[in-house]
Amino acid sequence: MTRKRYTQAINEALHEEMARDPKTILFGEDVALAVFGDTRGLLAAFGPERVRNTPICEATIAGMAVGAAAAGYRVIVHMLFSNFIYTGFDAIANQMAKLRLMTGGQIDLPITVLAVYGGGASQAAQHSDSNHPVLMNLGGVDVLVPATPADAKGMLKTAIRNNRPSFFLQASGLGAINGDVPDGEHLQPLGRAAVVREGRHVSLISVGSMIRATQNAAKQLEKNGIDAEILDVRSLIPLDEDAIVASVVRTGRAVVVDEARDSCSAASQIAAVIADKGFSALRAPVKRVTVDNMSMPYAPNAEAAVFPNADDIVRAASSICQPESVQA
């Protein structure tokens, strides 16, 4: 184990996987100089054939990823901010997500798309979207939202190495956090949630960026006599429904925390799963802590008013954990 920043963990995964398979290539805008630090050193290590700065043309960047993967390469594409995924969305939704099905399984598409998502830094509406829900609905791409440096490294390596198109979404608020990362080869299987904290009274189910607010909320709740379990879902497609239901079976209550807009959010999907498969264990309404149906405003105080925080989580959890029922 070595302590590393989240971005460093990504960078390490990229270096290792590009070294491992010479058919792995990476392109995107400004990947040479590494806008987010995650692609640093790759050009020097692997040369200008395999690591390429593209023009600004997300539609073609995403489409090229499909073509190069279909033609036998393992492709990593950097889309910078997840808002720019929209600019290349045709190739993603109409081609990347569908080509394997439409061709009757003739090909795999080993594509990994990197993007930074989420608000909290006054980047305003066009640089703050949490759009994992949109990707989750496409029906043909994996969607990964690791919350720790170790998971970032392990899940990114798995995603690059497998043959499915996947979106690796890094929460902008998590890029600088530190965590222990296993040394050497570390492959984290996808579709497995992690119990980050065990608890008896309520399951706080956290999506990606929300892990810190959720952990802070659990501490506050503890002071109020509420013992919260925290589940970090880590991967949204595939989603670990078993772990989610198992947690609710243990606690009987759930609050799902997601930075996405509420409507058709990951939180809503998870709540729906609980309302179906976890119903018999449920002892209270399933609560969602999400963003209202709007984009992030710019002003810090206005953004904070919209952004889910620990207090929101505490309030939601408290509303379904009446002292008497918790003691029951």
């Binding site: 390429r52 489409g63 190069a68 394997r100 439409m102 061709t103 043909g140 043959n163």
Partner: protein, 339 residues
């Protein structure tokens, strides 16, 4: 074009190549004529967009390609598929929605693909193939085996921004992309000139690539400009733009009359002009070859019959095949690829 190899035995390779082109155009024509008939008489599961009248462009270009060159196509893709060596049996089975289909019934007419022949596929998205071909060209460049990636698209698609983007990337990286615009003057039910500023070829010129505008109903002319473009690709000299001027004889799709409900976007006279023997790519080439003594009427009739037979055999194959596996879609999406 895969069929070229079937003529290897012939003494005169050039003559053989000419007959192979004629043969392939006949196969496309008969295949699509049969699709039109079936669509009308008994119906097909989905709609079909036919390229009748445009065969010379598909065949002329693909005559210069090897099996492992890449090709992306359009919603009007049967001709490209067959010209690139695709198999008519499995194409029909695909359009009939059968499990013997080249895409096992998952794609249908607008998505016929055969990766073993370099056919990345037809595409239901206008302009959808442009960036994909550019990505395949990137792969080809990295492979260093001199492959080309051909992208067929229409004059309507040339108004999609991704056309210009893909030319830009192909140019700066000197990718072996060949942009083939099949300019039939029509974008669905809109006359393209009413929605297109300037000359399409000038758009390509702006990216500094060689440009050829060619009579798209002259298969030999198309093959000749294709040869030059392919050679550039093989030598690593970068992309080319070819515009094949042609015309589609059939409607945008076979259900067109129903959709138009009496409206129209062209006159019967206009269509008739392109139907004439000296305009139609097949009769024109037939007559040329006859004049050159390369194809007498008996040879032509035999080829014509053979194509027709092949098409009828394909219908029988498709009709005789079992329906698609209803569970396949689920399997494809949830099994495999986890790596």
């Amino acid at each position: 074009m895969a069929s070229r190899t079937t003529h290897d035995q012939q003494a005169e390779p050039w003559a053989a190549s000419q007959l192979a082109m004629l043969e392939r155009m006949l196969l496309i024509r008969h295949a699509e004529t049969r699709l039109a008939r079936t669509a009308k008489e008994t119906g097909l599961p989905g709609g079909v967009h036919l390229s009748i009248g445009q065969e010379a462009s598909a065949v002329g270009i693909c005559s210069q390609l090897e099996t492992d060159d890449w090709m992306t196509s359009t919603h009007r893709g049967h001709g490209h598929f067959l010209a690139k060596g695709g198999d008519v049996d499995t194409m029909f089975a695909e359009i009939w929605g059968k499990r013997t289909g080249i895409c096992r019934g998952m794609g249908g007419s607008m998505h016929v693909a055969d990766f073993s022949k370099g056919i990345i596929g037809a595409n239901g998205i206008v302009g959808g193939g442009l960036a994909i071909a550019t990505g395949a060209a990137l792969a080809a460049q990295l492979d260093r085996r001199g492959r080309a990636a051909v992208c067929f698209f229409g004059d309507g698609a040339a108004n999609q921004g991704v056309f210009m983007e893909s030319m830009n990337v192909s140019s700066i990286w000197k990718l072996p992309t060949i942009f083939v615009c099949e300019n039939n003057g029509l974008s669905e039910f809109t006359v393209s000139s009413t929605v297109t500023a300037g000359k399409l070829a000038d758009r390509a010129r702006a990216f500094g690539m060689p440009v050829e505008v060619v009579d798209g109903n002259d298969v030999r002319a198309v093959a000749s400009v294709a040869r030059a473009a392919v050679e550039r690709c093989r030598r690593g000299e970068g992309p080319s733009y070819i515009e094949a001027v042609t015309y589609r004889i059939h409607g945008h799709l076979e259900a067109e009359d129903l959709i138009l409900a009496g409206g129209s976007y062209r006159t019967p006279e206009e269509i008739d002009i392109w139907r004439k023997a000296d305009r139609d790519p097949i009769s024109r080439f037939r007559d040329l070859l006859a004049a050159e003594g390369l194809c007498d009427p008996e040879t032509f009739a035999a080829m014509d019959d053979a194509a027709l037979e092949q098409v009828e055999a394909a219908v029988a194959f498709a009709e005789g095949s079992e329906a698609a596996d209803p569970d396949l879609a689920r399997q494809l999406m949830f099994v495999g690829g986890e790596g």
